[in-house]
């Protein structure tokens, strides 16, 4: 076991996979000598050379599209977009192309690529460096969308993503990069895609969440635990496809659900989770499914007061839990 941060776990996952499999390579802006703007590929250029650590021109559609083409021909590219807010130029290539190539060739061609996206706010990133774009991708059949919150999950899921024969959108919350440390086992392991993790057991209510707000949810749960109220916290880890079984089982146990995410509320991942529960566990509910999420404004604003107004913090989650429990 080693203690490491999320960014270190991401780096270790890529390094080990590149050592293991010559078809794995990274491409993106500044990934070479600079090691990526968040240092995810620090040291890679010396270890693997310019051929496998490709500093690309500043052109996201080409980064993604070239990765799609290389993946079609059997390589396993890991393409990096510097910030989630700059992912929209790749939309055409990922949502339009990568997601439907297996389907559109009736299984003859697969796209084993990973698109790594540092995302999320509460870092004073303002309108264009804070966004959570997961719902756009999660709506698209053919894409797997992963949002790990801990170093353990980041490393294991990224390895699973690189080994997957289908495209993966891999979202790494920027605030967790250095703020979140955790134990990571020595040696090789993977965390399976599509499997949620119960990060805290409880019986009074279930929080369903992922990413940075998973940590804030655990903090809120601790506050209630001091009052003898035990909250279950499910970390989805994969937001598409959602692990229905884990979600529904917990709902049947606690009968109360709070969905929490940083992305804005309308048509977010929480909407799908709520609908799933309404369809399959309506009879188990003692209260309506409630949501704590970002407000429906285009993105997280810059000033600290405005950012705080956006962000679903532990306080807001705690308040949401109390509303849910009082219902």
């Amino acid at each position: 076991m080693a203690m490491m941060t999320v960014i270190e776990a991401v780096r270790e996952a890529m390094r080990e996979e590149m050592q293991r499999d010559a078809s794995v390579f990274v491409l993106g802006e500044d990934v070479g000598r600079r090691g990526g703007v968040f240092l995810a590929t620090q040291g890679f250029i010396d270890e693997f050379g310019e051929e496998r650590v490709i500093d690309t021109p500043l052109a996201e559609a080409a980064i993604a599209g070239v990765a799609v083409g290389a993946a079609m021909s059997g390589m396993r590219p890991i393409a990096e977009v510097q910030f989630g807010d700059f992912v929209f130029p790749v939309f055409n290539q990922i949502v339009g192309e990568a997601a439907r190539i297996r389907y559109g060739t009736k299984g003859k061609i697969s796209v084993p690529m990973v698109l790594r996206i540092p995302y999320g706010g509460h870092i004073r990133g303002g309108l264009f460096h804070s966004q959570s774009p997961e719902a756009y991708f999660a709506h698209t059949p053919g894409l797997q969308v992963l949002c790990p919150a801990t170093p353990y999950d980041a490393k294991g899921l990224l390895k699973a993503a690189i080994r997957s024969n289908d495209p993966v959108v891999f979202l790494e919350h920027k605030r967790t990069y250095r703020a979140v440390r955790g134990e990571v086992p020595d040696g090789d392991y993977v965390v399976p895609i599509g499997v949620a993790d119960i990060k805290r057991y409880g019986d009074a209510a279930t929080i369903i969440t992922y990413g940075l707000t998973m940590h804030y949810s655990l903090q809120a749960a601790e506050v209630l635990a001091a009052e003898g109220i035990e909250i279950e916290v499910i970390d989805l880890r994969t937001v598409s496809p959602i692990d229905r079984d884990t979600v529904l089982e917990s709902v049947r146990k606690t009968n109360r659900v709070l969905v929490v995410h940083e992305d804005n509320i309308a048509l977010g991942v929480g909407a799908e989770v709520s609908a799933l529960i309404a369809e399959h566990a309506f009879g188990n509910l003692d209260a309506p499914v409630m949501r704590v999420a970002g407000p429906d404004i285009p993105a997280m604003p810059f000033a600290p007061t405005l950012e705080a107004a956006y962000m679903p913090t532990a306080d807001k989650i705690e308040a949401g839990l109390r509303r849910l429990l009082e219902y």
């Binding site: 021109p57 083409g69 290389a70 339009g96 192309e97 297996r102 389907y103 559109g104 053919g142």
Partner: protein
């Protein structure tokens, strides 16, 4: 007027020209049949290759003769490429009729879309130009693996306006990737003429902006097209990076079977364009060199008609695909 064929470009023999002509006859016959089947209500949508055949076939012959291996990223108008690469008329018609057994996508996609990997053709998308970065990525992978594949990326004139074409060309040139960008310039993107599409006369002039070689030739002329493509293929094969080859062709029919070109294109213009019909031009060339007679030409056309008749019967007799597996192949594993 007799013409000697002694000064053909390196790698191109008179027999190749005869073979290309025979293919061209077959493909024109097939293309006309598909159009007719659209008008009969049997083929839902067609984009005709008529007028583009010399350019397309010359490019394929150049790839064959000047690379150890190659791969084609085509677009919807590249019937002559797909057929030259081995898609049979029956398979082609199964696609146009959306029938069971269609090999590119199982009739999930429009005709000519999907992949025939064993025949080195991929045409995934209907979204114009999205395949150009894919072609570059395929070339990058080939270079990384150290194999000798040259990738041909086909597109129309309108397609060159897309940002992804710019991004992909720059990317390929910076990384010196083995790509030949082949622009089939028929001077129209649906109804939009070239002068409204761009403020340059020659699309190949843009190549300089990427630091690569660009050339424009008459795409109704097999020999000129072959020569331009061959040089570009050789450059790619020798590790000298990508090139842009602009082949000036004609589009004899409306954009697709859903289009009415009479509202934006004068009949006189099309009549004029017909004077450089690649099929007629190649036949005349072969005849003047003593390599084609009217009798042989009639034989070729007859045999093409018989082959296309048989393919039509086979495709019409085939069932539509079962919907049994409509939910499959979203992911590797069914979820």
């Amino acid at each position: 007027m007799t013409q000697n064929l002694e000064n053909l470009p390196k790698g191109l023999n008179p027999e190749d020209l005869v073979d290309i002509y025979a293919k061209m006859v077959l493909i024109r016959t097939l293309d006309e049949r598909i159009w007719a089947m659209n008008r009969q209500g049997k083929a839902a949508i067609v984009a005709s290759s008529q007028g583009h055949e010399a350019a397309q076939l010359a490019s394929v012959w150049a790839l064959r003769h000047h690379s150890e291996d190659y791969f084609c990223f085509t677009y919807y108008r590249d019937l002559a490429v797909t057929v030259a690469q081995g898609l049979t008329p029956t398979e082609t018609l199964l696609g146009f009729l959306a029938k069971e057994g269609e090999p590119m996508s199982g009739a999930r996609q429009f005709p000519q879309h999907g992949a025939i990997l064993d025949k080195k053709v991929i045409n995934i998308s209907n979204v114009v130009s999205t395949h150009i970065p894919h072609a570059v990525g395929w070339a990058l992978a080939a270079k990384m693996r150290g194999d000798k594949t040259v990738v041909a990326a086909y597109m129309g004139d309108g397609a060159t306006s897309q940002g992804e074409v710019h991004e992909a060309m720059n990317f390929a040139s910076v990384l010196k990737l083995p790509v030949v960008f082949i622009v089939e310039n028929n001077k129209y993107a649906i109804s939009v003429p070239q002068h409204k599409q761009m403020n340059v006369k020659q699309i190949s002039s843009r190549a300089a902006g990427y630091g690569m070689t660009g050339v424009t030739v008459d795409g109704t002329d097999v020999i000129a097209s072959y020569e331009a493509c061959a040089e570009a293929v050789e450059r790619a094969a020798r590790g000298k990076g990508p090139s842009l080859v602009e082949l000036e062709v004609e589009r004899y029919l409306p954009h697709t079977s859903d289009d009415d070109d009479s509202v934006y294109r004068a009949k006189a213009e099309i009549d004029e364009a017909r004077k450089r019909d690649p099929l007629v031009k190649l036949k005349d060339l072969l005849a003047s060199a003593g390599l084609m007679t009217d009798e042989r030409d009639v034989e070729l056309r007859e045999s093409a008609r018989r082959e296309i008749d048989a393919a039509t019967d086979a495709a019409e007799a085939a069932p539509f695909p079962s919907d049994r597996d409509v939910l499959e192949h979203v992911f590797e594993e069914v979820r």
